[in-house]
């Protein structure tokens, strides 16, 4: 579904990604784990075209996407859920969803408002509320719902559990499992290992812009030294 090979990216003059390679297969939930500043967000943004990749290759559903502008990438069916949520605060819940709306596409689940309100019942109870007057957890749900309105085949989730109360994190895990059941592929980056253990099939560990580990969640669970070296604070 999504394959990244030897990806390099810069912020200004700072070289952030040093040859990242990873893969998410159809229907798979893959976690990209790492500490603050390891390059998780940059990897996601480079895949989405928001940070122009300097070198390397990104293919999605069989097409090269590493030179495309973000809107073309999104239209191929790759959804992006940003870290800081980036809700349109002046727009109501319904209008936020409208901005995300794209035509239905083959090979991907189709979403509409009613189906999304079943997945996120809270949102259905505040359809006309402006995005700026919602709690952090509600905003996080809305960002995911907004991206799903584009009927993606695969979604990139940038730290979905960040800054959320534990109960909301559980709801979030529940929602991501629901996306997997719908047949979506998910690549999420996280610092929260337990959250990933609850939802992911496989994981990569990134440190200083390079991939240090790739394997199943079971392999990661078995390797204590790896976890201590790259993930513990």
């Amino acid at each position: 579904m999504l394959r990244v090979t030897d990806l390099h990216a810069f912020y200004g003059l700072a070289h952030i990604l040093h040859g990242v390679s990873l893969e998410a297969k159809a229907g798979e939930v893959v976690a990209l784990l790492g500490r603050n500043g390891a390059g998780k967000s940059t990897a996601i943004k480079a895949i989405m075209g928001l940070v122009p990749p300097a070198r390397g290759e990104v293919t999605f559903a069989g097409a090269r996407i590493d030179r495309l502008p973000p809107y073309r990438i999104a239209r191929l069916g790759l959804g992006y859920v940003p870290e800081e949520r980036r809700i349109f605060t002046e727009l109501s819940v319904m209008e936020n969803l409208e901005v995300g709306r794209q035509p239905a596409r083959q090979g991907a689940p189709t979403w509409d408002e009613d189906k999304l309100f079943k997945l996120f019942p809270n949102l259905g109870r505040m359809r006309e509320r402006p995005g700026g007057r919602m709690s952090g957890g509600e905003q996080q749900m809305l960002t995911i719902a907004r991206t799903l309105m584009g009927n993606p085949k695969c979604v990139l989730l940038d730290e979905p559990s960040e800054g959320l109360a534990p109960i909301i994190v559980q709801e979030m895990a529940h929602s991501i499992r629901a996306l997997k059941r719908e047949g979506l592929s998910v690549l999420l980056c996280e610092q929260n290992l337990r959250f990933c253990e609850a939802i992911a099939d496989r994981a990569y560990i990134i440190e200083k812009g390079q991939i240090r580990f790739g394997g199943t969640m079971a392999e990661l669970a078995a390797n204590t030294s790896l976890r201590e070296q790259y993930l513990s604070v």
Partner: protein, 613 residues
């Protein structure tokens, strides 16, 4: 004042407010989504007026011909907006915002000459509106039916725009992009097409505003800058991005102007809107209905650090410049005198807008006031020329003390607009105070003393004084004072958190830059022997901006290079062709597209790329 005359003036003001609202709504819409301050919006309004004039001639002076002409003119101006967006602006959305501003200045120049070529220099007076030219009697006085109809147009367009923005997918996309256009792109929306459509709507609104005025005002070539000044004022008074605010402000200003005319204070009409704007911005810094802008997502990068000037190259250039009159003729010497004056003017503008981060749309105020101060101290106060020349900058500096006190309270576009307001107030005082400034004729007989009367002698004096001025400004940039200014530009909060009273420093910078611009103006006045109100005009301010931006606001020497090239090119082109504005505008556009970092920045980047490793 009788009740009847009050009502009549109120209706007059409301009729004028409609067009003002239309053009401001378009400006505000475009700024919201694209973050481009479209200086060419007044030019689009002007095209609407001219277009309606010609279309009415072609389609006939019947109600059908008239209204078809108005609608077609608005649509044609909308298409002109699309052409501007697709051909020029789309290529530079990733450039620094100030560079986009430069491109819109260039478009102003091009459109002015297009209009000159197509419609000639004479004012064109359009027909009365067919079918609506009869007066309607209100309280014993006649008011043209057309004016009453215009009063209705404003609220109707406001309602339509509101529906469009609040009830359609396009409207949701526009409002979303106003807040975070990158996110809208990541959701699969083609920004280029959205921006083009926004430009179409914004330009068509300006065109409609102009076309509707054809029965009320003649089409003239200087509408472009006067209308953009009005539209800026309305947008800022109402609050950027607020349609309702723009409507409220248009009504307020339209009515205030009508009252000034109607009750015998016609001299005040040029000032009143800027007074309103000054008062509103000081009381409500984001306008009547505006909100504090959400921190915009950084799209550009912070400017690179400045390097201090290298002494030897600067000294070599100075010597070279000093030697020119020995080999060049009188013409070259006069041109060089202009160039050094404008170089100091541009460096002083760069000082506040580059390192201090306060963009001024009205820097000509200090240049012009310095020039007038020099001339008046010499002619009216009878001071010796040398003393007048040296005291004049301090007069300009005093004005900067007053104007700056207000301006540093704001930031960004609001600050820029307030500087424009003060410049326009200064201009209208100079323009109207016949007894003191001789009004539109300007002051003549402002000649230097005998020992400076030779062109080379005056040039050397100008070179020395402007050189000292530039040296002072550059020195200040690399003192702790200059570091504080740059810190304040890059992060005002952090600067204040370490105990810096940022406003005081910015105010001081404003005064220093104003004084230096005044010095440039005073030297300029004595070099010409006369001074006219145009030295205080918006056009003079935009010339300064073009010089700085052309050279590159991110470099130290850019403003000097920009001033030299701009002055030389303008002189050269004006000798060759009547359409020098268009030629200059096209050259600027070419530079903008090829060197998005400005001339000096672009050449430095080229040099860095080709330098042998």
């Amino acid at each position: 004042m009788t009740f009847a005359s009050f009502v009549i003036q109120l209706l007059n003001g409301l009729a004028a407010a409609s067009s003002l609202f239309l053009v401001s709504a378009g400006l505000s819409l475009i700024f919201g989504v694209t973050r481009i301050v479209n200086f060419a919006h007044g030019s689009l309004y002007m095209l609407g007026l001219y277009g309606a004039y010609s279309l009415i001639e072609a389609l006939g002076r019947t109600p059908l011909g008239f209204w078809s002409a108005v609608v077609l003119a608005a649509l044609a101006v909308g298409l002109a907006g699309v052409v501007i967006e697709v051909v020029v602006l789309r290529r530079i959305y990733r450039s620094p915002e100030l560079f986009q501003l430069l491109a819109t200045f260039a478009i102003v120049l091009v459109i002015k000459d297009v209009a000159l070529a197509a419609w000639g220099p004479e004012d064109l007076v359009g027909p009365r509106a067919p079918g609506l030219s009869f007066p309607i009697e209100i309280l014993g006085r006649g008011i043209p039916a057309y004016d009453l109809m215009l009063i209705v147009v404003g609220p109707v367009v406001l309602a339509l725009m509101w529906l469009l923005l609040a009830r359609t997918r396009w409207g949701a996309l526009v409002r979303a992009a106003t807040q975070d256009r990158e996110m809208v792109g990541a959701l699969g929306v083609d920004q280029a097409r959205l921006f083009t459509s926004v430009f179409f709507v914004g330009a068509a609104l300006a065109g409609l505003g102009g076309a509707l005025q054809i029965p009320r005002e003649p089409a003239t070539l200087d509408l472009d800058l006067s209308v953009i000044a009005d539209a800026f004022v309305v947008t800022v008074v109402g609050g950027l991005g607020s349609l309702g605010g723009a409507f409220l402000a248009a009504v307020l200003i339209g009515v205030a102007k009508a009252f000034c005319i109607g009750f015998g204070f016609s001299k005040l009409t040029l000032v009143v809107e800027f007074v309103i704007m000054g008062v509103v911005l000081v009381l409500r810094p984001y306008g009547l209905l505006g909100k504090a802008p959400a921190t915009p997502r950084a799209i550009g990068e912070t400017p690179p650090p400045l390097g201090p000037p290298r002494r030897w190259p600067v000294a070599a250039w100075l010597v070279l410049f000093a030697l020119v009159p020995l080999v060049g003729d009188r013409y070259v010497t006069v041109l060089l005198t202009d160039i050094v004056c404008f170089a100091l003017f541009a460096v002083s503008l760069h000082f506040i807008m580059g390192p201090a981060g306060m963009v001024s749309f009205g820097h000509a105020a200090y240049f012009g006031l310095g020039a007038y101060a020099g001339a008046l101290l010499f002619k009216k106060a009878g001071l010796p020329m040398e003393l007048a020349l040296v005291l004049a900058p301090f007069v300009a500096g005093l004005f900067a003390v007053v104007y700056g006190w207000f301006c540093v309270r704001l930031s960004g576009v609001y600050l820029a607009m307030l500087t424009l307001a003060f410049a326009q107030i200064s201009w209208s005082i100079v323009f109207q105070w016949d007894e003191l400034t001789a009004g539109s004729n300007g002051l003549v007989g402002v000649w230097p003393s005998a020992w400076l009367s030779g062109k080379p002698a005056y040039y050397w004096m100008a070179l020395a004084l402007c050189g000292i001025g530039i040296a002072i400004l550059w020195r200040a940039l690399f003192s702790p004072f200059g570091y504080v200014l740059r810190a304040g530009r890059d992060s005002p909060l952090r600067a204040e958190a370490i105990g810096i009273d940022l406003r005081a420093y910015q105010w001081a910078a404003f005064v220093l830059a104003g004084t230096m611009a005044g010095l440039a103006g005073s030297i300029f006045a004595f070099s010409k022997g006369s001074i006219a109100p145009s030295s205080v005009s918006i056009a003079q301010s935009t010339d300064g901006l073009v010089m700085v931006l052309l050279g590159g606001v991110e470099t130290l020497t850019g403003p000097v290079v920009g001033a030299a090239i701009f002055t030389w090119l303008r002189d050269l082109l004006a000798r060759e062709t009547d359409f020098w504005r268009a030629a200059l505008g096209l050259m600027i556009l070419l530079i903008v597209v090829v060197f998005p970092q400005g001339l000096v920045g672009g050449l430095a980047a080229l040099y860095a790329r080709w330098r042998p490793a």
